[in-house]
Point group: C2
Chain length 180, copies 2
């Protein structure tokens, strides 16, 4: 994986893909599927919706670190599998054949099979809305990957892959941050 | 437009589409393009990222009401146009030929050309993160619409339409709320 400038990381979350979020409590690593995410600014600040119903939440709130790993459509059944079992009783990395890569700034692992990995620190937990605010600190991209279509969870058990892309860069220029 | 059960409204936001958000300050209506949104729960609670840099923000915070209108790919250039001019000096409904429909619970208008419209009340403004928490109170769907592909903003001036759909309802059944 190559470094992705952190100022470009939001372009992998803004399209609204389902993501994997890894954590580590120092003894065991875990990974969960999250489809409720949002960009908060161009510095790579994100919000995710999670809470104590996710086993990963304890490690996330204790360590205040995680990695957002962005999967592509070839990983759809891994995403579904990760999202329908629990780290309470399952080593999901082993079960789904996910390869851990050591991150630079956080103890939570990167996932080699994903298109992009964003190392994050917890900036704030807004507990009464189950919102966790994350600050991205580094990002990595697998530039050689052929399959780049992201997966969007609909919420009814179906998923939609990225389809046709439209270029509106000229019309959007006044709204784009520098370097993107 | 027909009524869409409010418990299904999240399935239009969870996939991460760019949306239009309408407001009304009692004298003039306005509409803005928002791509930073998130589902917060199945009752149709949502978060959006916005702030005083958007002209609509004043009406949103004063009236504590808005409508989230979900466009499809045939409206791409309307979405781009709405997002790159300001209600300060433009009647965007007139300029982009958007047809207003009276909502049931809020003064902000529905947009007839959109696939789904969700009437919302502001539940909380988390100003230091530019997060506005919205509670959906009613939703409407244009069931006869042929084009149903949503649009995902990448953030670099390109947009991606919905592509192939995958059915994983059986595998996801334990995670789906009732009625979806």
């Amino acid at each position: 994986m190559e470094e992705l400038p952190i100022g470009k990381a939001f372009t992998l979350i803004e399209p609204g893909p389902v993501v994997l979020v890894t954590t580590s409590d120092g003894r065991t690593d875990n990974v969960m599927t999250i489809s409720w995410t949002m960009v908060l600014d161009f510095t790579a600040k994100f919000a995710i919706t999670t809470g104590a119903w996710n086993h990963s939440y304890a490690a996330l709130t204790k360590t205040k670190e995680c990695v957002i790993a962005v999967p592509t459509v070839d990983l759809l059944d891994t995403v579904v599998g990760v999202g329908t079992c629990s780290g309470r009783d399952t080593d999901k990395f082993a079960r789904f054949g996910l390869s851990r890569v050591t991150a630079q700034h956080v103890r939570a692992p990167l996932i080699a099979e994903c298109l992009v990995n964003i190392e994050c620190r917890v900036a704030e937990i807004i507990g009464h809305h189950d919102i966790v605010v994350l600050q991205g600190v580094a990002a990595h991209v697998d530039g050689g990957r052929k399959e780049k279509r992201l997966i969007h969870a609909v919420g009814d058990g179906t998923f939609v892959a990225d389809g046709r892309r439209f270029d509106r860069r000229e019309a959007m220029r006044s709204k784009l941050p520098g370097g993107v």
